[in-house]
């Protein structure tokens, strides 16, 4: 075995590296060096051969649709020109149309509220649960696994279940309110409540992700740190604010940013529960884009794509911050 190991370390790549560090006193023959170079090239060929499928895939199924989307947003498409081509190039006219649309302001505001409120509650509840589950008790692993259920269910399942729970006439939530003597709320059909209803459902769906990621972050805090804090007399809340939270900050930042990127693109829940209504009261950029492109008999692909591209810019801006933080953490 030792023999093979020795033999293995004599691969061209490592002998080249050795030469560079001057470990080989005798200059290598021309032939050997050429063989090494050839071997390295064939290594690169193999590496890229294995990558070829995913590169082609990314170009055809990501880059091309995205380019297509950009093109859609810069031309004045009708149904006819959508099928046959030849739509006139109109520059940023679609974007102008979108910004001037009375739906734009509310949709942007709803996106911000929906995302911010969702994140605050998902994160806080997720963190509280993660802290709770770090106290290992009987059944804790099983219960923690059960908490994943809302995250794993198809969104249409959770959305339709919440629709029925929040139904004005026969929903359980209103029945509970009635039991306490409160007036029923038109959760999904009142413009004052629809955005809150979809946000509640989204919080429920997002808690598991926050729980799992923050839990693994808490597990990574060395036990000695907590013990030391305890010796110093830091207990309970004090330990949480002064020790746990600061140590958890990198993981928290990543969780929140990733949650942000995911929440910006939430579409299914809102569309299934309220279709963005009533009268746009729960419309976000994502549902607006869908409605423009697919929700009407006469599709407005140009403006729809323009809204979509605005959404992409927002997602990518936060996405890049996320990648930057993650990289910095990986090398820290």
């Amino acid at each position: 075995m030792k023999g093979t190991m020795n033999h293995v370390t004599q691969t061209p790549a490592s002998s080249v590296a050795g030469e560079r560090r001057g470990r080989a006193p005798v200059p290598p023959s021309h032939g050997r060096r050429r063989a090494a170079v050839r071997r390295r090239w064939s290594g690169q060929w193999a590496a890229w051969a294995f990558l070829a499928p995913v590169v082609v895939y990314l170009l055809v199924f990501y880059a091309y649709p995205l380019y297509n989307n950009l093109d859609l947003s810069l031309r004045d498409y009708t149904v006819r020109s959508f099928v046959q081509g030849g739509a006139p190039f109109t520059g940023f006219a679609n974007y102008g149309k979108v910004f001037a649309d009375p739906t734009f302001g509310p949709a942007l505001w709803h996106t911000v509220v929906f995302t911010a409120v969702s994140l605050v509650f998902q994160f806080t509840i997720g963190l509280a649960l993660a802290l709770f589950f770090t106290r290992h008790f009987r059944l804790s692993a099983t219960l923690r696994a059960l908490f994943l259920v809302p995250w794993l269910l198809p969104l249409i399942v959770s959305s339709s279940t919440w629709s029925w729970l929040l139904n004005s006439d026969s929903g359980l939530v209103n029945a509970l309110l009635a039991a306490f003597g409160a007036a029923p709320v038109n959760w999904l059909t009142s413009p004052d409540w629809s955005l809150w209803s979809v946000t509640i459902a989204n919080i429920w769906i997002g808690i598991p992700f926050n729980l799992v990621v923050l839990y693994s972050g808490l597990q990574a805090i060395p036990a000695q740190v907590n013990e030391a804090a305890e010796l110093d007399g830091a207990i309970g809340w004090q330990r949480f604010w002064k020790v746990t939270l600061p140590l958890l900050r990198p993981v928290s930042a990543i969780t929140l940013l990733l949650g942000l990127v995911y929440t910006l693109k939430v579409f299914d829940i809102i569309w299934i529960m309220t279709k963005g209504g009533p009268s746009d009261s729960s419309t976000t950029l994502a549902t607006w884009s869908y409605r423009l492109g697919f929700g009407n008999l006469l599709p407005a692909f140009g403006p729809g794509a323009a809204v979509g591209n605005l959404l992409i810019v927002m997602a990518l801006a936060f996405g890049l911050v996320y990648i930057y933080l993650q990289r910095r953490q990986a090398f820290a």
């Binding site: 794993l152 399942v157 979509g308 990289r327």
Partner: protein, 272 residues
Amino acid sequence: MSAARSWGKTAIGLVLTGLMLFPVYWMINVSFTRDQDMRKSPPHLFPVDGTLEGYRAVLEQQGPYLVTSLVVGLGTVAVTLLIAAPAGYSLAKLRPRGGGALSFALLIAQMIPGIIMAMGFYAIFLSTGVLNTIPGLIVADSTLAVPFAVLVFTAFMSGIPEELLQAARVDGAGVLRTFWSVVLPVSRNSLITVSLFAFLWAWSDFIFASTLDQGGDHQPITLGIYHYIGNNNQQWNAIMATAVIASIPAAVLLVIAQRYVAAGVTAGAMKD
């Protein structure tokens, strides 16, 4: 920690889990509720006088949708593995020049909102004639999984000991042989994780189905439920029964593959 305190925490944990999963219980409860009890106020908390009407309706009407979802799910798994596993191997072990840029592109790809992909696909699918077809839907659904899959494979395969690969090389195995008979077998866990998530995402997909397959002859179960809500919003036991059946893959996944699930959730967030 005393035994009593531990049991106390377990009790709190049970209550919290119960609260969290209450909507799921409610879905099951409603799926067994008779039509005439559906609008009862207050509603029954347990399926007293339970009925299987809802499930009968599902079996009669939703069968084809379920089959389509199964086919689309399996197809998505196949496409995802075929594309992502070699890429993961290369990024983890073959040190391609420019690999970092590719990983970066994959991270970005994961963040693109589905609605934008759907709109981009729509025009392309329309002109190539794959709109409203199962292969078209499989391709679209695979975009949900491929970037994640490559990143997971890269992370897992980086952990394969270099000696193992070198031993294979010494035995005369080429890169391809090494990949097929050494790397893939030891990467079983990541293959399972990726397959489970790819299947689940394809099974759960609504946005691609509702845009790229809305006029198709074969539609997945998510559209089955959606049409149900739209058409007969009186028969909520049937809607919820369909929802229960559509949740089965998630439940199975959680029971048989719990540790893979948690690994997948954190891999997406933490690993590079």
